[in-house]
Amino acid sequence: MTAVYVWIETFNGKALNSSWEALGAGKTIASALNVPLAALVFGENASAVGAEAGAHGADKAIVSEDATLNGFRLEPYAALLSKLVADNKPKAVLAIGTARGRELLAASAGDTDSGLITEATSIEVQGDGAVKVTRPVYAGKILSEAISSAAGTQFLTLRGRAFKPNAEGTGSAEVSTVPAVLAEADIATKIESFEAEVGTVNLTDAAIIVSGGRAMANNPKDAPAGSDAAVWKAQDGFTNVIQPLADTLGAAVGASRAAVDAGYIPYAHQVGQTGKTVAPDLYIAAGISGAIQHQAGMRSSKVIVAINKDGDAPIFKLARYGLVGDLYAIIPALTAELKKRLGK
């Protein structure tokens, strides 16, 4: 059975919403090549998620609920994907380029000596069936166009939020079950524990991001004696000024490298060339001057709002709306206004 495969990433038995974007891109390729679109779902609850994929445009679902596949581990997942690819020679395998999607598709492309192009932001199927891909490189400073041979299976990982999911319909997928390839005894990696980050919105999935920079240290509050004043002020600002705005908007909190390097906020929040690349609908940059490394990570945001004391800061060149002033005066006013207007 030749097809286009899309790996549906699950977490605790639920599909990641962004996986439906991959089915959307998969549909474009499957339609152009006139082959069925198959969702691959591994692990707990795979059959139910496979059925759900039908409503999101999949013609088929290939599922495996073997206990070794509960909780993503590269070895059993890659072994199964590589076997499916070797046996069935799909035209393409797609996934959203999350940490797991990136390593799974790379491993399987490596196992099967197939072409792989990562972080696609647009795709175009050529006459011979090859998929031409555009992807940002140098952290979004330039674009690269790449193509894989149509003779083999073309592996593609997709940038989150770059492709639209199929309209959710009443379609159903024909679900088939496959066995796992590796037995537990053959898997070296064992998951010991998992500590979920609670209450935070994932930066790369976020529709709105509020980021703070170096100027977070200009908090007018007095730092307690004995503390590093700049660090205390900035941390207090992230907790008591930025976070309430983010909570009001359902937004994720980001930061510039300057803020992370100064110890104001953990690295997981860093946006930019050595942090995360994001493309939300709305990006609010507070007290961020807009160094080229930061711009690289957020310049494809749809609407950028810059709040900065320095009207000459480079961030205003990217921004749609610019507010010159003190973030410690503007952000609380903005939070209050939004609460009123959004009825929260």
Partner: protein, 259 residues
Amino acid sequence: MHVVVFTRSTPDTAAKVEVGANGAIGWGDAATVVNPWDEYALEEAIVQAKNAGGKATVIAIGPEFNNESLKHSLAMGVDEAARVWDGALEGTDSLAYATAAAAAVKKLGDVDLVICGKESVDVGTDQHIYQTARKLGWTMLSYVSKIIAVDYNAKTIKVERLLEQGKQVVTSKLPAVISVMKDINEPRYPSFIGIRKASKAVIPEWSLADLGATLPTSQSKVTQFMNLPAKNVQVELITGTPEEQATKLVDRLLEEKVL
């Protein structure tokens, strides 16, 4: 105990990168540096080798300008360096890189652990890391934020990994390939003595024949580089008291339908 770390030279992240009229990527007179992610890998390799009384070797796959990052690695305190290059690698994909990288590790023979930075900051790829692990047939542990325990005799490793939804602790077997995150350590600066020693180092160059490697046919290729379409944003400055600024901004954002 022997740890291998991979690195490469990339343009400074502050550089303005553009595609020239000839279609080639240029970054003016900006310096090339060690791929920033690799600094954490180099630091970790030095620490791991020291803790276990072993040896760290750094390898770059690429043309001669990569010697710069190899010398920086030596100056930091990595014991040995080698560069793999061959005309046949020019213009190839990650399958070729991974094949050459795996062959280089096998040439060294006694390697327990391979450490890589999370990704290459220039081309934005990490696939070569995972494919190197698969070509070696070793365990792959990505996004490692802490090595909790490692036992080179029992061949076991326990690490913390930073994933999208939280922190995972896993145990696995050696030999393994790991990729490390910024959180794992604080990379050291090269010492003066280190820099002087490294400047005199002669770095061996290994060809594919030296490694006994045969490349798989590349299945994907870059067809062109393009500058970004000009972004014509005209900033609208919103003035007034903070409260007035807030009201006007919310008006605009509601019109833009982004709330």
